[in-house]
Symmetry: C2
Subunit: 362 residues, 2 copies
């Protein structure tokens, strides 16, 4: 019925949703800390803009396919020409488009084993081959990524910085070296979903002249808009024109565009959320220490906490879910002995703390 590439795909789903788990257990979670969402809401200016928009035709009119107002604001903020920006319905959607631009059936995408799986899902969906290299001490290994790219004549290399699910970051120099060592005709997909939580000086400067780098950013994390579906790519204008050839031009919803523009006009949102996240990470670190669990210092809004073995991590994850705490864990060894604990509200953290302490100390 389907073309061979599709027929060969497994019936897999990248993630089971918390809503699905809630339906299974018959009651909502009391702490939703597993999907790397923001517990600190959207910008107050965005909320105000959304309330005002409900008095207009914002729901009934298609969104501007050029996202002109948002690209104007981003261009000014990032000091990048508008022709180097493509706004789409979140990084997941952009990753789906990207593999279709670059991968023919049989072409390789190189990534890290256990890194963000949605890029693999899309690469396989385009008939691509996924080559995964191991993490190095819980960091994505830029040297191994470059080597694997050469060995496989890869068309794409995926690197998330900061990383998900481990929360680590690699240096600007390491990324520079990776870019300089990419094979001919290979493009780096630099996923910066969590970049706002990383110290600014460690971020690679934007150089849109680079024809072999696409950077992905989102309003889902620090701006708290995961449910609204809006993100963007920063790249050489030739790559941006590629997106324009295949994207859903009317695919970004109008409320998301309105909220994103308003968020960029809000000087307080990032400071407030970054501050909350820093405090929240410290709370998770303190909880881990109090329970004699190791953890990986994080440059994101979640913390990978070490439960020693995959079996124990899996058991604890399940027990926490039974206590009403939704979390996820890395899927591949050796990271699969960790649980990824998202920064939540104080109330969510207290629920986690109580449940986890009871489990560990029982």
């Amino acid at each position: 019925m389907f073309i061979p590439t599709i027929a060969a795909l497994p019936d897999n789903v990248p993630f089971v949703a918390p809503e699905e788990l809630e339906r299974d257990r018959g009651t909502p979670f009391i702490a939703r800390l597993g999907a790397n969402e923001s517990a600190f809401g959207i910008s107050l200016k965005a909320e105000e803009a959304l309330r005002a928009a409900l008095n207009t035709s914002a729901c009934s009119w298609y969104g501007d396919p050029l996202s002109h107002d948002l690209r104007t604001a981003l261009s000014s903020r990032l000091e990048v020409p508008m022709d180097n920006l493509c706004v789409d319905a979140g990084i997941d959607s952009l990753l789906g488009l990207t593999v279709r631009l670059f991968l023919q059936p049989g072409d390789t995408l190189v990534t890290s084993g256990g890194a963000y799986p949605t890029v693999n899902y899309h690469a396989l969906g385009a008939g691509g081959v996924v080559k995964a290299v191991p993490y190095n001490n819980h960091h994505e290994d830029t040297i191994a990524l470059a080597e694997a790219a050469h060995q496989t004549s890869a068309r794409l290399v995926y690197l998330a910085n900061p990383d998900n699910p481990m929360g680590t970051q690699v240096s600007q120099e390491a990324i520079e070296t990776l870019i300089s060592q990419l094979p001919h005709n290979c493009t780096l997909l630099l996923d910066e979903a969590y970049i706002e939580f990383m110290p600014a000086q460690s971020s690679l400067p934007i150089r849109v002249g680079d024809a072999n780098v696409v950077r992905f950013r989102t309003f889902s994390k620090a701006y708290g808009m995961a449910g609204m579906r809006i993100g963007y790519a920063i790249a050489n204008e030739r790559i941006i024109r590629g997106y324009d050839k295949i994207r859903n031009h009317f695919g970004v919803n109008r409320l998301a565009q309105i909220a994103a523009v308003a968020s960029l006009q809000d000087d307080l949102i990032l400071t407030r959320v970054i501050n909350e996240v820093q405090h929240g990470r410290e709370r998770v670190y303190a909880l881990a220490r109090s329970l004699e669990l190791a953890y990986i210092p994080s440059a994101t809004n979640f913390v990978a906490v070490d439960f020693g073995t995959q079996e124990r991590a899996t058991t604890v994850l399940k027990q926490l879910a039974e206590c009403g705490v939704f979390l996820r864990k890395p899927m591949q060894p050796p990271q699969d002995q960790f649980i990824r604990i998202g920064v939540g509200t104080e109330a969510e953290h207290n629920s986690l703390s109580e449940a986890l302490s009871a489990l560990i100390c029982q």
Copy 2:
């Protein structure tokens, strides 16, 4: 840089947005009648649900990837099992997924010349070939579609019922015959975006046992939610599982899911909008008659009005835009002598009427 299929694509865009035209002219339109959007807003229950949602984490939490609540409501409404429903970010997105399920480079999609162009855009984006057959007396020609499908060994046939841009409908019997005459391994894509405006008795009964039909519906038109991006496919469960292999599982925004569920709980919205649209069509018919212009009776929320020649239609379209009235017109002969006039609010219609009367009678 890109794979050959993509490199060969033109830098084309299916539609120029009204916002882009407004930026060019430096001032907003006074009547937005060209994008087949609803002028009658969203359900009051949906608006209420959205306002309440802004007090929750609805913007910050990813939407349920299974759209469970919406599929439950649709299943009950349509008397179709949930496994036969796939919710996604609008019909455009579903069409993009569909061509990827069924078309390999070189495979053919059959459609009507001048019909909804986004399916062609996506088919070409997947490396497919588009074969277009002429309309028959402004109706999509189901006999010609079936013949062309056999001649080209097509994998997909696209039929919009009611049609866009002409607003005509074909009979249930004609569609039944088309389905029965499809070649082996060819699937009918039945786009029913405007179905709520069509007399119910003329709609083909849903038979999810048919393995060669996918029906597409949306909240964009009668439910007034074009800006929110949510629609669904009804199909055999094997096809639905295909969508699950490649769709963006977290791609439907949470507010759209909330508004769609609330809309289905609103007994008044459809009656109210269908009534408004019927009155609005009558207003357009009357305007056309008063100006001695022919028109095609419509089963949708727009009316194709005949300006005699392509040149005249193009000139009038441009002049109306200068007067602040946004419209679009069919792109291919012989339909390109028509202008597609959307049903608007009374104020929008009056602006159109005034401008058009002045142009025609000058």
